[in-house]
């Protein structure tokens, strides 16, 4: 069979949104007309953009594509994200099997469905404390600063054994890593500062262990463990970044979406049994990993009629895939009663989010508690004045001013 490679001119990744909750309109057009299209990267190279659910899902499970960031172009920046450099020990998101498998198997037992359910009372408590503090402060408050960011940050700190008091530092470094227009020197400085911070923490835990994850990994009885300080630092920084940057944005952006869809927040209030459904639908609808997931072809690969050459970077747009009408009828509608469990907001394949059960537990606790405590919750500014995170790898809102007085 001969494969015809279409040769349209490559275009940059679409990033300009029309509506704060929808991916850029170009994705819908591409998905329909050219589901695998030519992509121009800021470093001057060209590659491919996948926008259809089945193609994206297939790509993310395809072992002919590598997660090694060293060989990949970034779709939105002229230099690669160094957190995914597989030469950094323990940096599992940039690794392929079998290296990836070893680390994944060592840390997964900390993030199982059962373990996360055991955390529920503690998460309930943390959420309640923050709601009480909001109530004492009185409206208006910035929901990002008072609720969405501190809750997952405190939870991951307790889980890992990282002092919550140090959050100003590591939240600043993480923001620098994830800001698109951050100068290269500043990104690398933030990366080094975060590395040094976690490394010192690992050294301290070796001397004085506690009950939290980092210490337990160090003192694991698993003979296959034996992680070096470098490896522990790599794993630790990844979990710290992932644990406070992602859920924080889902909590704030999810609340913003619910406030802009009052019929949906009403259903959530009246039907608490729908909370798990609502969480899956918000994950699908908002897909905050807004610039997709990057892979590199190890060999020449034929997919859906196009030939991807060895070494080319491919971007899997999970945001576009989660709006594919072939999978989700009326995909641009937020409908918390629909069945959206097959969304791929957490990715797919061996790298599917390690912390997804933690994220779900935090969301299923936080949204109902927030809307339950403040039934009159609403935006304190017009919706078009909410500052959006178009400029960050992880989408969301920079601030969400809310009030709850009549």
């Amino acid at each position: 069979m001969s494969v015809t490679s279409p040769t349209p001119s490559a275009v940059p990744l679409p990033t300009r949104r029309g509506c704060p909750f929808d991916p850029p309109d170009e994705y819908g057009v591409l998905r329909q007309r050219q589901p695998i299209s030519r992509l121009a990267f800021p470093d001057g190279k060209t590659g491919w953009l996948f926008t259809r659910y089945e193609d994206v899902r297939g790509l993310l499970a395809d072992v002919r594509f590598s997660s090694d960031r060293r060989r990949a172009s970034s779709p939105v920046r002229a230099f690669p994200i160094r957190i995914g450099d597989p030469r950094v020990p323990g940096s599992l998101i940039g690794m392929d099997p079998p290296e990836h498998t070893r680390y994944r198997r060592l840390v997964t037992r900390w993030f199982t469905v059962r373990r996360m359910r055991e955390l529920a009372p503690r998460i309930d408590r943390i959420v309640a404390d923050h709601l009480a503090a909001m109530d004492r402060t009185g409206p208006p408050v910035d929901l990002v600063g008072e609720f969405a960011r501190p809750i997952p940050s405190l939870v991951i700190c307790e889980l890992l054994g990282v002092p919550y008091g140090d959050r100003t530092d590591f939240q600043r470094w993480t923001a620098a890593l994830f800001r698109l227009d951050e100068p290269k020197e500043s990104v690398f400085a933030a990366r080094d500062a975060l590395w040094e911070y976690v490394r010192e923490l690992v050294v301290a835990k070796r001397r004085q262990p506690d009950e939290a994850l980092l210490s337990q990994l160090i003192h694991s009885e698993d003979p296959s463990a034996g992680l070096t300080d470098q490896e522990l630092t790599g794993v630790g920084q990844l979990l710290l970044i992932a644990g406070h940057e992602t859920t924080a944005n889902m909590l704030a952006l999810g609340t913003f979406a619910l406030l802009c869809h009052p019929e949906q927040s009403r259903i959530l209030r009246e039907r608490p049994d729908l909370v798990d459904n609502a969480v899956e639908e918000l994950l699908r609808y908002l897909t905050i990993v807004q610039f997709g997931i990057v892979r590199v072809a190890r060999e020449d690969v034929e997919v859906a009629g196009v030939r991807v050459r060895a070494g080319e970077t491919v971007v899997a747009s999970i945001a576009a895939a989660n709006r594919d009408p072939a999978q989700f009828p009326e995909p641009d509608e937020l409908d918390i009663t629909r069945s959206a469990a097959h969304h791929i907001a957490f990715g797919h394949g061996v790298h599917q989010c390690l912390g997804q059960q933690l994220a779900r537990m935090e969301m299923r606790t936080a949204y109902p508690a927030l809307f339950g405590r403040f039934p009159a919750l609403r935006l304190a500014v017009p919706a078009d004045q909410v500052p959006l995170r178009d400029d960050m790898f992880i989408y969301g809102v920079h601030r969400l001013p809310v009030t709850w007085q009549g």
């Binding site: 993310l60 994944r104 199982t112 469905v113 059962r114 469990a341 061996v350 599917q352 059960q357």
Partner: protein
């Protein structure tokens, strides 16, 4: 109905334990899949199929009675 798994493919995402807790759990040692009931009653077929579909690493296979008896796909 019979459930077969390829544990070597599992990476412990937990989709099965989340969506079909009657059938699947995760090991305390490494977080990887544990099958609680590999010959579940027919009323759990839908849940088993959901777990099969959502598994990010194609670990789970749900065989209907014909396949279980060694049919072409079994």
């Amino acid at each position: 109905m019979r459930i077969e798994i390829d544990r070597s493919r599992c990476r412990g995402a937990g989709q099965c334990a989340l969506h079909a807790p009657e059938l699947f759990d995760q090991s305390e040692e490494d977080g990887m899949v544990v099958v609680l009931d590999d010959q579940p009653p027919p009323e759990l077929l839908e849940r088993a199929r959901l777990a099969e579909r959502l598994c990010p690493n194609s670990v789970i296979r749900v065989l209907d009675d014909e396949q279980s008896r060694g049919g072409p796909a079994g």
